[in-house]
C-alpha cells in the first residue's frame, strides 16, 4: 500500500539518514530504498554559492504531481522529495529524493524518474555567486537534462 509522498520545499538543510529512517519506520513491506542527494559544486573553486529561487506553491505542487506519477508508474511504496531554496554554499545539500519499493529496480527507477522530471519541470532556478565578486550568471537549462526524459517516454 503506497503512502502519500512527503514533499517539502525549505530553506533549512535536511538529514538524509533521518529522512530514510522516517520513511521506512514501522514498515515490513519495503525491500529496497534508493536515495539521491544533489549538492552544490564549487565549479573548480570559482563559485562561492548558488542562489536557489523558486515559485512558492507551484514548486511543491509540481513536485507532488511528479511524485504521484512515479509512485503509480513504478509501484513505489513511498517517496520523499525535499528541495532547498535560498543561498547554498559549495558542499551543502540542495535536493533529496528517497524512493522505497518492494524490489530494487523500482526504487532505482523511481528515484531517477523523480530527479529527471524535477530538474526540467519543477519551478526552481539557480543563480551563481562567484568567489571573485563578479556578477554571476543564471544557470542555463541543459539539453542533456531534457534528453534525459526521453528514456522515460
Amino acid at each position: 500500500m503506497a503512502a502519500a509522498p512527503s514533499i517539502r520545499v525549505q530553506r533549512e538543510d535536511f538529514d538524509a539518514t533521518a529522512e530514510t529512517a522516517a520513511l521506512t519506520a514501522g514498515r515490513q513491506d519495503i525491500g529496497a530504498v534508493v536515495s539521491f542527494v544533489g549538492l552544490c559544486r564549487d565549479e573548480a573553486g570559482t563559485l562561492s554559492a548558488l542562489e536557489l529561487e523558486h515559485y512558492p506553491g507551484m514548486a511543491e505542487a509540481e513536485m507532488r504531481r511528479i511524485a504521484g506519477i512515479a509512485i503509480e508508474r513504478f509501484g513505489l511504496l513511498c517517496l520523499t522529495a525535499i528541495h532547498r531554496y535560498g543561498k547554498i554554499a559549495p558542499g551543502e545539500n540542495i535536493v533529496l529524493v528517497i524512493a522505497a519499493a518492494p524490489h530494487r529496480q523500482a526504487a532505482f527507477d523511481g528515484a531517477a524518474f523523480m530527479m529527471d522530471y524535477l530538474k526540467t519541470s519543477a519551478p526552481f532556478w539557480k543563480k551563481e555567486h562567484r568567489r571573485d565578486g563578479s556578477a554571476g550568471d543564471w544557470v542555463s537549462a541543459k539539453d542533456a537534462d531534457t534528453r534525459a526524459l526521453d528514456k522515460w517516454r
Binding site: 515559485y55 507551484m58 505542487a61 530538474k119 519551478p123 532556478w125 539557480k126 543563480k127 542555463s140
Partner: protein
C-alpha cells in the same frame, strides 16, 4: 490579472509581480508574451526570446498555444534549473 515573474525574467522587468488589465486580443499564453514584450524596453529585454519563456496558469504549466482565459495568476519564467 496577476502576473508573477521569476529568475532573469523578474530581474529584467525589475519586479516580481504586478496586476495588469489585458486587452481582449490576448487569448493564449503566446499572445500574452507578445503583448508584454511591447510594454517597454525592460519587457522587451525579458521576452526577446519568446520561445524560451515558460508559462504557468494558476501554477500549472501550459504551452504557448493554450488559452489563459479565467486565470487568477499567470507565472512567466525561464527554463527551470533546479535539482
Amino acid at each position: 490579472m496577476k502576473l508573477v515573474y521569476f529568475a532573469w525574467v523578474r530581474e529584467r522587468i525589475g519586479k516580481g509581480e504586478e496586476e495588469l488589465d489585458l486587452p481582449e486580443s490576448v487569448v493564449t499564453a503566446g499572445d500574452l508574451i507578445q503583448y508584454l514584450s511591447g510594454l517597454g524596453e525592460e519587457y522587451e529585454a525579458a521576452f526577446q526570446f519568446p520561445q524560451a519563456i515558460r508559462v504557468a496558469v494558476n501554477q500549472e504549466h501550459v504551452e504557448h498555444h493554450e488559452p489563459i482565459a479565467g486565470a487568477r495568476e499567470i507565472g512567466l519564467f525561464p527554463p527551470m534549473t533546479g535539482g
